[in-house]
Symmetry: C2
Subunit: 430 residues, 2 copies
């Protein structure tokens, strides 16, 4: 008996099928909770003949996006990519239709353009599923924690990376074979770069940072490193030190400026974030009033993503039914400009892995360079059982500016007794 | 420049002072994010002379609640208790004013009455802070996870109990001395019953169950046990088995009926819930679409509670500013009646602690009773180093109906070789 709100889904792939199924299967529970009769009226795709594993009336399927936009009150974009997807969203908004999307890459790169179109046309544009899949973290950040100045956020937001790192740690395995296995099992793409090189997490970090600080920073504001350089030895040494490697998004308010970075990072193994294993995601949000909070769940996959998409659809449907469109607008800019902190200017503790020649004077040479840059050492270890002409040397430092660390590493790499690159990872004590 | 919405706080105690400070200190960030100029206009208390550690203009303070209700658009009730607090809320609602409260006991016992008044007067009534303090779990449950049928919820929702259990485990200490210390440190009340006997958690469980299943069950629907019976030996044995004791709220959909219970429970030490230590709270929500999610943070205290109260105030203020009052009403009943499952009919694994005479035939006698009730044993242990005339015996069972377990325990307690009570705890494998 609730007001009818009509929904069209563009993109009948995995997530599109999940969202369709969720809307159909849980129609009644959504109606009971929201008071709105949310009806799936169209699904558009280039291919409407392949079986998607979900029963939908044939009359719902169309290859004509214009027809879908004309009929729907809410247009759900689930085709992905940053070109056609954006065009469809703009077309929907310009037709006065609300939009729900899970497209993090599009938002991180073309967010400002989409938000302007939503504002101009007085439409809602929601995107909960773009960050951390099924976890309602965007809602938490801008509604549940609305009264907080955000001091820090840490995110484990890529299930593929977390799955790989969890297995590397558990099995003492190297990156490449675990990646191959993850690909065979469908946990990693054939081209894994978007995930393992950190870009997917960076998209999400850019979105969270934008919402926390009222400025749509975009992808280029994020310092990005991937997880390819982590070795079995690093995993072992991290564990001995009480840490664990995670591909960590870090968003920090540093004296009014903001650090936004994604990098493989050592975090305490016994922390809540450290306990997040396998494909699960988690986002820690620290506010000035609430203190530390953590939001945990499945960050990807058909059904978890569908849960967030349909939550957005219902939120927008409630806005439409209650005549309060843009009650929570797509994005609200703050009145102050928020500068970025360059990663070089950030202070952290560091973990270094070097390969050195097995000869006297090596430690003296390396530590002398660190001392020159005022970098003080917390521990310096050679793993038990190291032998041969070249052996690993692990160093954990006290807090120092990254620029000093980078310069010291450059010099250390040029020492005669040091072979090959120096690998550097940040430590976050949460 | 946003629309002005006026807020009055009844109760200038710890949480009231925290909410006042949050509203004043973060006024601008709330305005930027919500578009509403949320103004604190009155604070009412019997005592307006004591220093509360927060600077408020003297003109805001009043002893006259009627004056506050007349002036405010949103009335925040933070005096606690189930009598006067309820009267003030009803008075505010009947005057057409929105209400925000943190009062779990009032909601659990008089919720239906308050919801009816809110509906009759077309007012909002929000209560995020009533469950798990600063964690926006009510918003997550009814908005972020709106498209999910809720299968299970587990809550660690009493910081006092979790603090005591964490210390008992870490220090190998008994309940009583740790409770005394917690009282001395201000983590436990002089009369600790509301916390350690499980009633506070039961209030919160009743609220979560009501929201999940669309029926306001109330406190009497909750099976409640406290943590006083846990001994150092139980802690040690649980750890050896890979478990950890938590005062756990369990809300489960069992074939269309609902279990709502609060009891000291063994949960896997390596689970996310198992990792929640000290005064922190966490709620695991499992939906049919999203799978497992977890929401973690501070469950009590001045500022964390204030964060949730002010989030509600802002939500309601946005409703008022956007002319969509009751967009998310205080409570929406489902159309189907949802029956309760009696705890006796629930199936679980159990951990038992007995004291037995040190003589032959004891194990045979005890296990024979269990066998009579078709209860199969997973392990049966006497702790290393047990000696004397009377020794402990620990039993872990496979899954069995609680009614069978209770009957078996009654018989076991009457055996000649068994001394004193048999202690029984449920095991939840999450």
């Amino acid at each position: 008996m609730g007001k009818v709100v009509k929904v069209g889904i563009i993109g009948f792939g995995t997530v599109g099928a999940g969202a369709a199924e969720n809307l159909l299967k849980n129609h009644d529970v959504i109606l009971e909770r929201s008071g709105v009769d949310v009806q799936l009226v169209k699904i558009a795709d280039k291919d409407i003949t392949t079986d998607r594993g979900v029963q939908v009336p044939a009359s719902l399927l169309t290859t004509n996006v214009d027809e879908l936009i004309a009929e729907a009150d809410i247009v759900v974009e689930l085709i992905g990519g940053t070109t056609i997807a954006g065009d469809f969203i703009l077309k929907a908004l310009n037709a006065g239709k609300a939009v729900v999307t899970a497209n993090k890459a599009l938002l991180a790169t073309r967010g400002a353009e989409l938000f302007a179109a939503a504002e101009k046309n007085n439409c809602d544009l929601y995107y909960e599923a773009s960050v951390a899949g099924g976890i309602p973290v965007i809602k938490a950040l801008r509604e549940g924690l609305v009264s907080n100045k955000i001091q820090r956020m840490y995110g484990i937001m890529n299930g593929t990376c977390n799955y790989i790192l969890t297995r590397m740690e558990a099995e003492g395995a190297a990156f490449e074979p675990v990646l191959k296995d993850a690909q065979a099992l469908g946990y990693a793409e054939a081209n894994p770069s978007l995930d393992v090189d950190g870009f997917d997490t960076a998209h999400k970090a850019a979105i969270l940072a934008g919402l926390a600080y009222g400025k749509w920073f975009g992808l280029e504001a994020v310092s990005v490193e991937g997880i390819r350089n982590i070795t079995e030895l690093d995993m072992t040494m991290a564990a001995q030190l009480g840490y664990r490697f995670k591909l960590l998004a870090v968003i920090k308010n540093i004296a009014g400026a903001v650090q936004i970075s994604v990098a493989p990072t050592l975090i305490p193994a016994n922390s809540m974030l450290g306990a997040i294993s396998g494909v699960f995601n988690g986002v820690m949000i620290e506010g000035d009033t609430v203190g530390q909070t953590l939001f945990y769940g499945r960050g990807a996959g058909r059904d978890a993503t569908a849960s967030a998409v349909v939550a957005d659809v219902t939120d927008v449907a409630m806005n439409i039914a209650n005549n309060c469109v843009r009650r929570v607008p797509a994005f609200r800019a703050g009145k102050n400009d928020v500068p970025l902190v360059k990663i070089e200017d950030v202070t952290n503790r560091f973990y270094l892995r070097l390969t050195v020649k097995e000869q006297t004077g090596v430690m003296a040479a390396v530590t002398e360079v660190l001392a020159q840059y005022q970098i003080s050492i917390s521990s310096l270890m050679q793993p038990e059982g190291s032998s041969g002409d070249q052996v690993p040397l692990l160093i954990v430092t006290h807090a120092t500016k990254e620029v000093a660390m980078q310069q010291a590493i450059k010099e250390i790499a040029q020492l005669d007794c040091v072979c090959g690159d120096v690998n550097m990872f940040r430590i976050e004590d949460i």
